[in-house]
Amino acid sequence: MPRATILPPSLARLVNELSKLPTVGPKTAHRLAFHILNTHREEVGKLAQALLEVKDKIHFCRLCGGFTEQEFCAVCQDETREKSRICVVEHSSDIIAIERAGNFKGLYHVLGGAISPLEGISPGDLRIKELLARLDTPCQEIILATNLSVEGEATALYLTRLIKPLRIKITRIAHGLPVGGNLEYADEVTLAKAMEGRRLISDFGMRNADYTQHGHK
């Protein structure tokens, strides 16, 4: 691999900038830089313009905090979405993942992260006040779709404590087996969590049977 020092300064600068990107190591940065160097000026101009445009035009939806070029994002503007269900996520990119799944027809709320004292993120740094303000309008269900990490779980617990007194239905996304997955091949941890989070299908009319107490309390 050529050493960065023997590169002409402008090329070295490009390599340096590229290697700051996530998942890009020094080798990939070099490959990308040489690719850019060998690309037609016009094409490179489009890339440069796209980079700046995304910074200038994209901002956060005034309601949910998702990406948009307008005041409100496409989901929040969509009159056909169920406004009484709000799915709470950590990052805007999570909305895109759930939208790809396509089965959720409600609205979103982006927190902007998860509670993590180690990283100095406290509830006040998240868009929680904005979420509570949205609950004034009739809301039937809050779906907590924060990550299953320690921090995501803590955030879900925190929100549960906060929202519970408002008498709104709160749900947590399930963790478990991959779709089409064969039980036999699932790793033990996933399987154990799937068992822990099992849901009731029929209780033969026996209310308060002890297995109904499983899952998230």
Partner: protein, 390 residues
């Protein structure tokens, strides 16, 4: 299970190596500082992705100038490095071939800080902790001799490493618990310094209790399974009639966890540290009803320590259906003749055992028909004279 082959480079003073092991006993002989224990450390690292001698894994990496390159095992000086070297960074690479009841597998681990990656049969693991359980080991080192009289962390570590290697759910919970604890400790400090509101603590209390109780549960049943094993092995040793008992003493009982957190809250905030939970667990050892930590003689405490490791070996066998590797790091020098003999006699035929020692005399005590001797000099395994009876 046993480790058939080990390849490696970059581990402390060891030159690049490629060794074939005996399925029974492997003896690493050499002077102090020659690199015997580094070989055990390499095996332990392959099994757990951790060192057993340091919390700073970087210390394991060969401390030579970056760009060190080997030509036929001889290190090449930094200013004579060949041009166009592949992007060489100091680091550790290990690969091992493991034979187990459910077939053979190849484990690889690459450690170039901050990168640490593992592969099983060529397939990269998305999480490093999934490595654990593929090559199971029980380590007995000089430090572990102190397991009875030393600090409680030694006894907790024993429970954790024994359970984790046979129960991935436990390992996952343990990792989460440690993370929750770190978050909570930071939070306590912030509440004390009035940076953060106290109500956030309720959330972390709830997480701590849920995950902590899962640990307490499994540790309790582990200790109750291991208790009769230790007792039996202890009486076998030198025909001692004294009775060893282990009792699991959780830092807090499951149903009392939340109450105790409430009761200790003010003190926790003042000190900025979590005071309640399984991170304060203990195992109490008694010898004929007397607290072994206080009343056992040094020799008795060492004997119990041996018994505990051998019971750990048996526990893993019972849980997983096969024996783990037994790594004995320099423990012979710490034992009197009688206990040394017992330990050698108790090396079971179906347990692959690795022994390091500077004492040539150990050789004459070993069933040499079933052992391979490796001599280690200045970081190089100079001979692997195999005397294998297959």
């Amino acid at each position: 299970m046993y480790l058939r082959k080990l390849k490696g480079m970059g581990v402390r003073n060891l030159l690049p190596l490629e060794l074939e092991f005996n399925p029974k006993i492997n003896l690493f002989l050499g002077d102090n500082g020659a690199g015997k224990s580094n070989l055990l450390e390499a095996i332990y690292f392959l099994a757990t992705s951790r060192s057993f001698r340091t919390n700073q894994d970087q210390e394991m990496i060969q401390s030579t100038a970056p760009g060190r390159y080997y030509s036929d095992k001889v290190p090449v000086a930094a200013d004579h490095q060949p041009a166009n070297l592949p992007d060489y960074q100091p680091g550790i690479y290990l690969s091992g071939e493991v034979s187990a009841v459910d077939g053979d597998s190849k484990i690889e681990i690459l450690y170039q800080p901050p990168r640490k990656e593992a592969k099983i049969n060529g397939k990269p693991l998305s999480r490093l902790i999934d490595l654990i359980g593929h090559l199971r080991v029980v380590l007995f080192s000089v430090e572990d001799m102190a397991v009875i009289k030393g600090g409680p962390h030694l006894r907790r570590r024993f429970m954790d490493i024994s359970i984790s290697q046979t129960d991935p759910v436990y390992l996952n919970d343990l990792q989460r618990y440690i993370r929750i604890l770190k978050q909570r400790n930071r939070l306590l400090g912030e509440i004390r310094d009035r940076i953060e509101q106290e109500d956030l603590l309720d959330t972390f209390d709830e997480s701590l209790v849920k995950t902590g109780n899962a640990l307490i549960n499994k540790r309790r049943s582990m200790v109750s399974e291991i208790n009769p094993l230790v007792k039996g092995i202890y009486q076998e040793i030198g025909g001692s009639q004294k009775e060893v008992q282990l009792e699991y003493k959780p830092g807090v009982e499951e149903d009392d966890f939340l109450n105790r957190l409430r009761a200790k809250r003010r003190e926790e905030i003042r000190r900025g540290v979590s005071l309640v939970g399984p991170h304060r667990d203990e195992i109490a050892f008694t010898l004929d009803g007397m607290n072994a930590r206080a009343f056992a003689s040094e020799g008795e405490a060492r004997t119990i320590a041996i018994c505990l490791r051998l019971a750990g070996l048996e526990y893993i066998y019972q849980q997983s259906g096969e024996y783990p590797l037994l790594l004995l790091d320099d423990v012979f020098s710490e034992l009197d003749e009688h206990r040394k003999q017992y330990l050698i006699n108790s090396l079971q035929a179906d347990v692959q055992t690795f022994i390091t020692t500077a004492d040539e005399h150990v050789l004459k005590d070993l069933p040499l028909a079933n052992s391979s001797v490796f001599r280690v000099e200045k970081g190089e395994v100079v001979s692997g004279d195999r005397k294998v009876a297959k």
